[in-house]
């Protein structure tokens, strides 16, 4: 047997029960959870120590989807990096784009025309809805409810259709450029969007009827994976997870970017920081997103879409900025250092999934394996973003 085969066998053996006396004497079992597991939402791998079904220890191993995006950023001119940002959090491309172009605009000092700003917010809120829908779908199926998965995808399809009509892609949008928007809204887009907004709240009610009061759902989620506000801040957690723990921090309110200071919306908060609260906060966020969208459609101004000379961008040498926005999963930010050239010297991504995932060992300790799945579900990670 060659060495290569032996090493492959060793990894197999890692997932099997050892045939020795220690089986009956041992207290804890090591369980390799992932990277190929239906509910790790990608290629997350967890090394678990379990005592029966109870998790004693959890050690996440990531990097299976590492593509060196940050290295790629250093090779391309600013506007060519936008498609690469799509592929980090691939279920929320618009917010990734906005974080990136926002950072570039801040670095260079570009001002974006108001119409472009409104279109950006429209796209981002739609993206928030679609990302939350995908989260709900997978989270519900993790807990065993199969049907919400299909309902969520049914509505998500409508959002993706809107994206497709706007920029020609459904998932990897590439829909923003430093300095503004590359295209205007197509004819009839506003009406289609309004139709969707009229229909969508009823659909949220439908999901809630299926899940929110369901006793099994409540039993599976209430008190599971409690994240206290202190711990949440300590771990740098952002987004709905942080707000479910009761900390009123939303970048759209705290440091308004684009035109978020001109629309009226509420930031949903919860108190307990458990899985159920995270679920409730995200559901409410979808409703608030529809509110923002309606206001944006009402206020949508006419006018230019691109700032002047936005295509020929040279970043000042040594200039550095950090710009974060509120993505569906938390604060997604870009730290960009200029080089006096049209390419960034350094472009770092603050990936919300990456930082939120860090708290997983704390959340799952002393829970059961079934809870682990529920907790991974509400952490709402996308491995493309964790590994970049």
């Amino acid at each position: 047997m060659s060495d290569a085969i032996r090493s492959a066998n060793d990894t197999v053996a890692n997932n099997t029960v050892a045939h020795d006396d220690s089986v009956f004497g041992a207290e804890e079992m090591e369980l390799n959870f992932g990277p190929q597991h239906p509910s790790t939402h990608g290629v997350l791998r967890l090394k678990l120590k379990v005592d029966g079904e109870r998790i004693v220890d959890c050690y996440p191993i990531i990097g299976y989807l590492h593509r060196g995006t940050e290295k790629l950023f250093e090779l391309n001119p600013f506007f060519q990096n936008v498609p690469h940002t799509d592929r980090m959090d691939y279920v929320a491309a618009a917010t990734n784009n906005l974080a990136y172009v926002g950072a570039v605009e801040k670095l260079i000092g570009l001002t974006v025309p108001p119409r472009a700003s409104y279109i950006r917010v429209l796209l981002c809120e739609l993206q928030r809805i679609s990302s939350h829908l995908l989260w709900l779908a997978t989270h519900a199926i993790d807990i065993g409810a199969m049907t919400p998965f299909f309902y969520c995808f049914r509505e998500r399809e409508l959002v993706l259709d809107l994206f497709e009509q706007y920029c020609g892609a459904r998932l990897t949008l590439n829909c923003m450029r430093p300095g503004g928007q590359p295209f205007d809204l197509p004819h009839g887009w506003v009406d289609t969007c309004r139709e969707f907004l009229e229909l969508f709240p009823a659909k949220i009610d439908e999901y809630e009827n299926l899940l929110t009061n369901n006793r099994i759902w409540k039993k599976r989620t209430i008190g599971i994976g409690v994240l206290s506000p202190e711990v949440a801040v300590e771990y740098g957690i952002t987004g709905p997870m942080l707000r479910a723990s009761g900390i009123d921090f939303d970048l759209r309110k705290a440091m308004p970017y684009e035109i978020y200071d001109q629309v009226d919306f509420e930031v949903p908060l919860a108190e307990n920081g458990d899985t159920y609260d995270r679920y409730l906060v995200r559901m409410e966020e979808m409703r608030q997103a529809t509110r923002i969208l309606e206001q944006c459609l009402d206020q949508l101004p006419e006018g230019a879409l691109m700032a002047k000379k936005a295509r020929v961008l040279k970043a000042p040498k040594g200039g550095e900025v950090y710009h974060g926005i509120e993505g569906p999963k938390g604060e997604i930010g870009f730290y960009i250092v200029g080089d006096g050239k049209p390419i960034p010297h350094r472009c770092h991504v603050r990936a919300p999934s990456f930082i939120n995932l860090q708290s997983l060992p704390e959340l799952v300790s002393n829970h059961m394996i079934a809870d682990l799945v529920a907790i991974i579900g509400t952490t709402d990670i996308v491995l493309g973003e964790v590994d970049r």
Partner: protein, 364 residues
């Protein structure tokens, strides 16, 4: 064929024929003519109904409306490679699926699908009427759990092992309330024979408005509830499908199984589902009895009307199973135990006592 039977008859003598050969042939006939087609089409129905619940259409490519899909599935499963993991315990790995399927199929021998023979060439619509039929059902259902445990252990995979352990705990704890809840109809009917229990449910109550099925009995309805919950748990179906919870344990006890061996587990699960539904129909919903006499379809020959009623009720139960699967999330392991031990068992015990008291106070 008749020659062969005659030869068997002469060779083995009437006793052997009556007690061994004839039931075996009947069981096989029932299996291949009724149960296996039923199971494969229930699988199709499940996929179709789930599809309709979930805003899609389900399988519709093979044959008209996908009606040939089960055949395609079976052929696929038969032709697939049968993988046995290197470090699996071979004999146990091979034995486990059989242990699941065989008892589930044997139970069908005592289920009355229709009325007993009324003469005039009408057959008995059951294979045998054992006077301890219900005990047999419970006993046989218990064997099935060994298949799951052995399968989970023999695969030599941690997820399988956990699935096996879960199923062991779950099925053993839910057999208790199931057994107790079954006592209620036994008390009401005064017999263990399944045919006898159905016959005890004939007639009407409340001035002929309600059939005298045990589900309409004041304690019977709660017994039915307990039986149904325990039965769903017994057959490992949603919301109690923990042993094979695909999002937690990959596929639970049958993670390592493939091809026909996996199909056997699959058959076992669906056979169990049918058995639980059939027993529920028999015990609580009056078996082959129509709700009202004028709906009895007595014009059909050979008691087929009764069979039709039985099958209709059976399908209603199976539909509910599928409907549940399309709606509910899954319980957690400890919550499942909680429900079983803290709620269902006390409830079933109280029901047994209550029923006995009622029976004492109102003997009619």
């Amino acid at each position: 064929m008749p020659g062969l039977l005659q030869w068997l008859d002469e060779f083995a003598g009437p006793t052997l024929f009556e007690f061994a050969v004839s039931p075996t042939l009947k069981i096989l006939a029932l299996l291949f003519l009724f149960v296996l087609p039923l199971i494969s089409y229930i699988v199709l129905a499940e996929r179709k109904i789930l599809g309709y619940i979930q805003a899609r259409v389900g399988p519709n490519r093979v044959g008209p409306w996908g009606l040939l899909q089960p055949i395609a599935d079976v052929v696929k499963l038969l032709l697939k490679e049968d993988v046995i993991p290197v470090r699996a315990v071979r004999w146990a790995f091979v034995l486990a699926p059989c242990l699941v399927v065989a008892p589930a199929f044997v139970i069908f021998s005592v289920i009355p699908f229709g009325p007993p023979s009324t003469g005039e060439g009408a057959p008995n619509w059951f294979i045998t009427d054992v006077n301890t039929g219900l005990l047999l059902v419970i006993a046989l259902a218990t064997i099935g759990v060994y298949g799951l445990i052995i399968g989970g252990w023999a695969s030599n995979n941690k997820f399988s092992l956990m699935g096996g352990l879960r199923s062991a705990a779950q099925m053993i704890s839910y057999e208790v309330p199931q057994g107790f809840s079954v006592v209620v109809p036994i008390l009401l009917a005064g017999t263990l024979s399944l045919v006898g229990i159905v016959q005890a449910q004939e007639g009407h109550q409340l001035f002929g408005l309600l059939p005298r099925w045990f589900v309409f009995h004041p304690t019977g309805i709660f017994a039915f509830f307990v039986y149904m919950v325990a039965g769903i748990a017994e057959s490992n179906r949603n919301p109690f499908d923990l042993p094979e919870a695909e999002t937690e344990l990959v596929a639970g006890f049958h993670t390592e199984y493939s091809g026909m061996r996996f199909a056997l587990f699959f058959l076992g699960e669906y056979a169990n589902m049918i058995v639980v539904s059939a027993i529920a129909v028999t015990l609580f919903f009056g078996g082959w009895l129509p709700p009202f006499d004028f709906l009895g379809m007595a014009f059909l020959p050979m008691g087929l009307g009764g069979v039709l009623w039985f099958v209709t009720k059976l399908f209603a139960f199976l539909f509910v199973y599928i409907w549940f699967r399309g709606t509910f999330p899954r319980y957690r392991f400890d919550q499942l135990m909680d429900l079983g031990w803290k709620w269902l068992i006390p409830m079933a015990l109280i029901l047994v006592v209550l029923t006995a008291l009622l029976k004492l106070l109102f003997p009619s």
